[in-house]
């Protein structure tokens, strides 16, 4: 017995001694730290390449582009103080702001802008916006040249009114201008050296990413506006904490272990609402959730059956139940928060079971099972599928739910390997980009559900048109065609809800869905 205990003790002691890591410097806690939750670790520290929504949010604190997305989704000045566009719409001349310095102290010049663009558009680059700025894209870039130390000229292959919106895209990290020291001498990525209000601190994988206040940050004048406008780092450090579990994140907020809980899932709202010391803010999002249909499917190739499914749904009731009343029901790919959401886009497709049954019958549908793919990412998508199945059954439509994990669902979506699928698209700043998620040539891109030449032509027209009135007309026509073709059924736009400690001051959520921790302080009463 004693021998056994002795053996166990020795074994444990040896293991613990091995486990204790070698001496590292203790972390010294100084200054104010603003702690915000992210629900997964960031994918990389490289802006706009290996990325997801969490990565984008962190990157937008570090890097800034020539322009930045404003609150209303349009592009405003950022590192460029002004710009001119040639009459043919092909040549953009940007004037850079003077006195801006990178986090390593190097002044921003046109050479850095040219270097960053060349890096983003280089062969082998995985930058998210590269296809749109390459031949065949929305705004193909022909050349980028310095125009003195503080001027940059970009020439496009053709006029592209969406060029600036494209540059401001958050999923492309706002085409953030980075300094050469972001990469090592061997060309390998190190960390982002940008011009943002915070600089890179440390990345503890699966724990937190810490950013430090950039003391020499040169802010734009005026109030904050989207990712642009006046920005100030009001805390010494920002810590993005990776807390995957919603319930644990709620507990952390209640306890005061995190200060900001952004993107609160509707089903955990009850955990924190009404708690002492917690306050909320919210804003409508430019995202949309929908049912995608596979137009090449034997059954769903007939638009009458697709319309029948659309008519079988009470979208308002579905939205109320699945999102706990937090989202806005919508039947248009133009999100309700968009300035282009007008009289044509606003009406919801009303549930009409008699017409749905008649359309299904006319399409020759005889109750054959239709697979509806969904996942739990986010959990509302699964609830959507359950409700859709029940509602469609009322119209005699037989949906069978298949629940996959996110990676499997993404693969099926990307390959067009599905009959019907509940899917969510993150916020797009312009309706052309929202319609562009659906409309396209299926032969070239199997993800596209709307393989209509008329729709593709109108989409191209919307991209090439600058006048807002003319664009509204195009979007109206696109929306009408969308409702008639029914390549997808739009369900709702979510509402971004943020819960925070009452000590947090200045946090504002916005339609683009990323959390912005500049102009946020910890000065309020606890």
């Amino acid at each position: 017995m004693r021998k056994a205990i002795l053996a166990l003790v020795i074994l444990l002691a040896v293991t613990v001694a091995w486990l204790l890591p070698s001496q590292r410097e203790p972390v010294v806690e100084t200054g104010t730290v603003l702690r915000a939750r992210i629900n997964a670790d960031i994918a990389s520290s490289e802006p706009g390449t290996k990325r997801d929504a969490n990565t984008d949010a962190v990157m937008m604190h570090l890097v800034e582009g020539l322009v930045a997305a404003r609150e209303d989704g349009t592009a405003g000045p950022m590192l460029a103080s002004s710009w001119t566009v040639s009459p043919d719409g092909r040549t953009y001349r940007f004037k850079l702001r003077r006195g801006v310095r990178f986090h390593n102290g190097v002044p921003l010049t046109s050479a850095d802008v040219v270097w960053s663009f060349h890096r983003y558009l280089a062969p082998g680059s995985e930058w998210r916006c590269k296809p749109d700025l390459s031949p065949g894209g929305i705004a193909p870039v022909v050349s980028i040249k310095p125009d003195g130390a503080y001027g940059v000229t970009i020439i496009l292959a053709h006029a592209a009114p969406l060029f600036l919106t494209e540059l401001a895209r958050i999923d492309c990290a706002g085409t953030g201008i980075i300094q050469r020291q972001s990469v090592g001498p061997d060309g390998r990525w190190r960390y982002p050296v940008g011009t943002g209000p915070f600089r890179w601190g440390s990345w503890h994988h699966n724990q937190y990413i810490e950013l430090l206040r950039y003391k020499n940050y040169r802010s734009l004048p005026g109030p904050p506006d989207g990712n642009g406008g006046g920005k100030r780092a009001l805390v010494e450090r920002v810590r993005f904490m990776d807390i995957p579990d919603d319930a644990a994140a709620s507990a952390a907020l209640l306890r005061g272990s995190v200060d900001v809980l952004d993107g609160l899932a509707p089903e955990v709202l009850a955990n924190v609402s009404g708690a002492t010391g917690i306050k909320f803010t919210s804003s409508p999002s430019l995202d949309f959730y929908c049912i995608l249909f596979q137009g090449r499917d034997r059954l769903l190739a007939d638009p009458r059956l697709r319309r029948a499914i659309a008519l079988s749904l009470d979208v308002a009731a579905l939205t109320r139940v699945a999102t706990h009343g937090t989202a806005t029901p919508d039947s248009s790919p133009v999100p309700a928060a968009s300035p282009y959401y007008g009289a044509v886009e606003r009406p919801l497709v009303r549930q009409n079971l008699a017409e749905a049954r008649a359309l299904a019958r006319a399409a020759g549908y005889r109750g054959e099972p239709i697979e509806l793919i969904t996942s739990h990412s986010p959990p509302e998508m699964y609830d959507d599928a359950i409700i859709i199945q029940a509602m469609a059954r009322e119209a005699g439509i037989n949906l069978k739910i298949a629940t996959l994990d996110w990676a499997s669902q993404l693969a099926r979506y990307s390959n067009g390997d599905y009959q019907a699928m509940v899917f969510g698209f993150s916020a797009r700043l312009d309706p052309s980009l929202s319609f562009g998620l659906l409309a396209g040539d299926k032969a070239q891109d199997p993800r596209k559900t709307w393989n209509s030449p008329a729709a593709i032509a109108m989409l191209r027209q919307s991209i090439a048109t600058a006048d807002p009135k003319a664009r509204q007309e195009i979007f109206d026509r696109l929306d009408q065609l969308f409702r008639s073709d029914a390549p997808a059924v739009i369900l709702y736009n979510t509402r971004r809800i943020t819960a925070m400690r009452s000590t947090v001051q200045g946090f504002r959520s916005w339609p683009a869905e990323t959390q912005r921790l500049w102009n946020v302080s910890l000065g309020g009463k606890p």
Binding site: R24, K50, E126, A251, R255, S414
Partner: protein, 314 residues
């Protein structure tokens, strides 16, 4: 003993090869593409193809396997497709966290199980026995994530005694590290105590009925001595096998607890890697866990004769 251990270790080689083979091909059978997951829902086909080439996923799967196995034999498990970190270093850094939680929890659970199981067996059918049996069954029925959340809410949110999320390595602050680990260790200890207690109780009951125990009592030995010297060693042997199996399982499988308490451990790494289709990390983790399983069970087998002299190593 050395010969036995060497033989067992040599036998582990084909097992691990088989694990590597199955894992490598099974992982690739799961639908989903790491490049698509990394680049997101709007990524272009060209970007996905370029990333495939960069990750070596454009080569035939058997070629990928041979290349990976060749490197694995030299100790190089490759680099994570997502973070670019070396898989070996990644696994070891995460295993440190998991190992501390698992070793301490299983040691505590074993200690509790021995005491509770022996007392329950000794006083079979008494109120103490019923209480122990009821508690063990109750614990078995509680999911660990639920228990973890309850403890988190009680000790973290309501009483403010312990931190609710985060992790501090021992090297930075031993006292803070202990504070952060108390809740996950408590959760795992409670979760694993149930089954170990039941096993200890049932094997102790069997041993208490044997003639040599009656003989020991007839010799006039004090009951404490009978239990400690004659009953415990024989009764503990089956429990020790279960401890070994539990250790092996927990080393690779406390992802739920790690997720609830935001611990950067091996289980969470494995789940995240599966969800992101980070093939090199999934393969490395599973191979590591399989090797660990083999090793833990070997150690258990080597310890067996210490408790039961009838068992020999040959």
């Amino acid at each position: 003993m050395l010969g036995y251990a060497t033989k067992r270790l040599l036998l582990a080689i084909p097992t691990l090869f088989l694990v590597a083979l199955i894992v490598f091909f099974l992982v690739r059978l799961i639908p989903g593409d790491p490049a698509q997951v990394m680049l997101g829902e709007g990524a272009s086909q060209q970007a996905i193809a370029a990333l495939h080439a960069q990750l070596g996923l454009d080569k035939p799967v058997p070629v990928q396997f041979v290349s990976w196995l060749g490197r694995a034999l030299t100790g190089d498990l490759g680099t994570s497709s997502i973070t670019g970190q070396p898989v070996g270093a990644l696994i070891l850094s995460r295993f440190q966290v998991t190992a501390i939680v698992v070793l301490v929890s299983i040691a505590l659970a074993t200690l509790i199980a021995i005491i509770a199981g022996m007392i329950a067996a000794w006083r079979q059918h008494s109120q103490i026995d019923l209480a122990v049996l009821g508690a063990a069954s109750f614990i078995l029925a509680i999911p660990s994530f639920w228990l973890g959340l309850l403890l988190l809410l009680l000790f973290g949110v309501t009483l403010h005694w312990l931190p609710v999320v985060g992790y501090v390595p021992f090297s930075e602050s031993p006292s803070a590290a202990i504070l952060f680990l108390i809740l996950p260790i408590t959760t795992l200890t409670i979760s694993e105590t149930g089954v170990l207690t039941r096993m200890m109780r049932s094997s102790a009951i069997d041993v208490l009925r044997l003639d040599y125990v009656t003989h020991a009592r007839a010799k006039g030995l004090p009951e404490r001595t009978v239990l400690a010297r004659h009953v415990f060693p024989n009764a503990f042997a089956p429990t020790m096998t279960l401890v070994g199996l539990t250790l092996g399982r927990c080393f690779g499988g406390i992802a739920v607890i790690e997720t609830v308490f935001t611990l950067p451990g091996l289980g969470r790494l494995m789940v995240d890697s599966v969800l992101a289709r980070d093939y090199p990390v999934v393969q490395g983790c599973l191979l590591f866990v399989a090797a660990l399983y083999v090793l833990v069970n070997l150690v258990v087998d080597l310890l067996y004769p210490l408790f039961d002299p009838r068992v020999g190593l040959s």
